[in-house]
Structure formats: C-alpha cells, structure tokens
C-alpha cells in the first residue's frame, strides 16, 4: 500500500468515525517505539482501581493512627510513621518502576508518598521545634516537594508527577505570596486573594492548552475545568455586591464570560461552555437582585432573570451540539 492510499484510507475512516485521532497517534508512536506513560490516561481496570482504593485506605489508616494515638507516640514514632512511611513509599515506587508489569503499583506508592509527605514534614518541623510560622512551614513544604517532584518527572517522565507539580506549584504560589504579604492589610484592601485565584485560573488554562497538543492531552480537560472555575469565580467575586460593588469588574465580568464561551468553540472544551453558562446564569441572578429587585419589583425581576437563563441554556445546548460533540 503506498502512502497516498494509506492516507486516503485514514481520511475515509475518520469521516465515518471508525477511527479516532488518539488511535492514529498511538499507532504511529508504537511504530516509532515511543513508550508513553498511559497509566493515568487510559481507562483503569478493576485491579488498578482497587490499587488506588487500597492506597487511599493505607493513607487514611496512617493518618488516623497518628491522630488517635498522638499523645502515646513519642517524637521518633510520630516522625517515622508519617515521614518515614512517605520516604519508604517513594523508594518502593522507584523499585516498582524498574518492572513494567508493576507499573500501576509504582503510581499507587508515589501517590501514597505524595499524600503523606506534607503531613510528615509538618510533624517533623513541629517535633524538631523549628520555630517558624505556619505560613513559613507551608512555604518550606511546598518548595521542597515541588523540587522533589520536578526532579522525579525529569527522571521518570510520569504524568502523575506533572499533576503533583501543578498542585505543589500552586501551593507554593499561594504560600509564598502569603509570606511576602506578612499580614499586611493590603491583602483585604486589594482583594489579593481573588487576584491570586484569577491568575491561577489563567495559568491552568494556559497549561491545559499546552498539554492539549502533547501526549499528556488528558490533563487538558481537568486543567480547563479548574482554570475556568477559578477565573470566573475570581472575576465574579471581584465584582462585589451592592453597596460595596466594584463597577469595573461588574462590567468586565460578562466580557470575560463571553470570551470563555467563545473559547469553548475554539478550544473545543465542554468545561468552558458548561461553567461559562453556569456563571453567566449566576451573574444574571446577581445583577437582577442587586439593581432591579427594588425598581421592577422582585417578582418581575425574577421573571426576566428566568427568561434570560432559559435563553442562555438554549444557546449553550445548541453551541454544544453544533461545535463540541465528540470533544473533551
């Protein structure tokens, strides 16, 4: 079969929805001998689901053990049960990565280590009586774990480490800004919490777009979801509520919202459309209650709001049918 015939076959199969883009790319990668980490991107079988459930139960058991017997355990026991378990889990996971058939187990033990590490490190700092503030503790923990998992991703190239890096990186961003602010009243004056969530949302959306064109494209959907919730939630909060509303953000919010809905078509993301629609409905309800309840009367403003929400839902469903069927 020559190349042109093969390509035409693929085109015909794509038109008839016999084959998906991922299947074509996977076949190509297999031919190239590219080994991809698919543990978090393919559907899990029952055994793997049980692995993860078991891992969560192990984590819960350790936390409950330490919590219930805190006063009976000495310093060494507290640290070894939590931080020690985290370290041993990590080492165990590294050993499992050497054997392909134990790959899913390595993920579980990496996950147990990631969950236990912050608790273990907090207990270590507390027991060693290292005199730093709670914020400084979080700053230290998030920066150490981010460094660890960035290095782990560089060595092992697992998608799980990307997720952990995003989580610990976000934690580092929030705790570092808290530490820099150092209790300054500028926080509440400038709504810095809302702006942090806004920027985090934009970062997540940008990361989601970055991964959408790579092997880790399965991360795009959750990143888009969290990103758009943070972006729209922060923008909504910045608008405030009468009489303390911020008119600029109240006027900007619908623009941001419509941009999100427009991007749902461009990025082919259902998350954008779904949350954009929900937030737009919330915005209409808020504006109606804020400015029209007294002038038009509460019942009449409810009627108008309800009709607007019906219209938005109708448009949203049609956008979904027309542009976003069979997308993330």
């Amino acid at each position: 079969m020559d190349k042109n015939t093969l390509l035409e076959s693929i085109t015909a199969a794509s038109k008839d929805n016999i084959i998906t883009k991922d299947e074509i790319l996977n076949a190509y990668d297999r031919g190239q001998g590219v080994k991809k980490d698919t543990a978090l991107t393919r559907h899990l079988n029952i055994a793997e689901i049980l692995y993860y459930i078991g891992g969560l139960i192990v984590f819960s058991g350790i936390v409950i053990l330490v919590y219930q017997h805190w006063s009976e355990l000495n310093t060494f026991s507290r640290i070894s049960i939590t931080l020690g378990s985290a370290i041993i889990s990590y080492i165990t996971a590294v050993i499992f990565t050497k054997y392909e058939k134990y790959e899913p187990l390595s993920h579980v033990f990496f996950l147990i280590s990631a969950l236990l590490s912050p608790i273990g490190m907090s207990i270590f700092i507390y027991e060693m009586k290292i005199s730093i503030s709670f914020i400084a503790t979080q700053l230290a923990i998030s920066s150490i774990l981010l460094t660890l998992y960035l290095s782990s991703y560089y060595i092992f190239r697992k998608v799980l480490f990307i997720i952990l890096n995003i989580i610990f990186g976000t934690w580092l961003f929030f705790s570092f800004t808290e530490w820099v602010l150092n209790g300054s009243p500028a926080v509440s004056m400038f709504h810095l919490t809302e702006y942090r969530f806004l920027l985090t949302g934009l970062s997540y959306i940008s990361l989601g777009y970055f991964f959408s064109e790579r092997d880790e494209r399965s991360l795009s959907s959750p990143l888009y979801s969290f990103g758009v919730i943070a972006l729209l939630g922060a923008t909504f909060a910045l608008g405030g509520y009468s009489p303390n509303q911020n008119s600029l953000w109240e006027l900007l919010f619908p623009l941001v919202n419509f941009a999100v809905i427009y991007l749902s078509v461009y990025l082919k993301s259902k998350s954008f459309l779904t949350f954009g629609t929900i937030f737009l409905m919330a915005y209409i309800g808020k504006i109606t209650t804020e400015y029209f309840a007294n002038s038009l009367g509460w019942p009449l403003s409810l009627v108008i709001a309800g009709l607007a929400i019906i219209a938005i839902a109708f448009i949203s469903i049609n956008l979904n049918k027309k542009y976003l069927q069979k997308t993330v």
């Binding site: 934690w171 961003f173 800004t177 820099v180 009243p185 500028a186 926080v187 934009l202 940008s206």
Partner: protein
C-alpha cells in the same frame, strides 16, 4: 524561536504567578524607598472598663478616673501612654504630664495621609487562606495601598489593646 513558540503557553502559565509575586513584593516593599511617614502619634495600651482612662479633649490629652463597681472581680488593668516616633519606628512610654505638653490632632488620618490599621490575620491552609479578622498584634500605617508595619509595644490582643489617641502637631 520554534522552541519558544511551541512552549509559549507553558511560559505564560509559569510567568503569570512570578509576575504577581514580583508585583506584590514591589507594592509592599518599594514604597519604603520613595516616601516614609514621619508624623509621630500617641497611643495607649490597656483594656478595661474602669480605672484611669485617657482621651483627647480640646487637642490635649486628658484623663478620667472611673471608679470600678464593688462586684468587679479584679483590679483594673493600668492604661499606659506611649509616644511613637514614626521616623525611627520606636515607642517610648510617657507619663500623663509629659503627654499633656503635646498638641494632638485626633483625626484618624495624619497630615501626610496615613491611617492606623490592624494587620490581617494570616492563617489557614492552602487554598483556604481565610482572613477571619484583624490581627491585633500588628499595627500598620497605610496610605493608598502602601503599608508600613509599626514596631509598637506588644498589644497582645485584648489583654493589652492598642488605642490610637492622636497625631502630634508640630
């Protein structure tokens, strides 16, 4: 350039938080290089409903003696007067007689435009850094978003509550 263009969304995602951190650090610490409040002020510490209390009357520090009721469980906590030298950022306890010698502007805003505010309660765990209220242990001078932490006498919450009386008129 192709590498940069290909990874542009990643660079944007990483740059946004860094820019915000730099912006916050600049907003908090840079103003100290350009301007600094200089107006001194008088404040008291102490918290009780009776005993000797200080206030401002006719631009002078005045005091009143309020007898504690018989059922009052303990002796009233003594109010202490302090003069805060803003430029040096130091507080010194003064007597009532010393305080009487100053002319006081009891306006909450200084002639330079600064106000006294409590700090924010910095607590919580990511991402729930909730501000449950003011931190009475830290006092700030603020002006249009610029803030300076003051080295006042430890107010220690309600047991030694900070009470601003007024700015020194020179």
């Amino acid at each position: 350039m192709p590498y940069f263009k290909k990874h542009l969304p990643l660079f944007i995602a990483l740059a946004l938080p860094v820019i915000m951190v730099l912006f916050i650090a600049g907003a908090i610490y840079l103003p100290a290089f350009f301007s600094h409040p200089t107006t001194d002020f008088i404040y008291t510490t102490g918290y009780d409903y009776c005993g000797t209390q200080y206030f401002v009357q006719y631009q002078k520090i005045a005091k009143s003696e309020n007898t504690c009721p018989n059922y009052y469980p303990k002796p009233p906590q003594e109010y202490k007067l302090f003069l805060h030298k803003t430029k040096e950022d130091v507080s010194a306890q003064i007597t009532f007689e010393q305080a009487e010698g100053y002319t006081i502007n009891e306006n909450s805003t200084s002639p330079e435009g600064y106000k006294i505010e409590y700090g924010s309660q910095s607590g919580g765990f990511f991402p729930f850094f909730m501000y449950s209220g003011s931190d009475h242990n830290s006092i700030y001078l603020t002006n249009n978003g610029v803030s300076y932490k003051l080295n006042t006498v430890n107010t220690n919450g309600y047991s030694g509550q900070f009470k601003f009386l007024g700015w020194i008129v020179k």
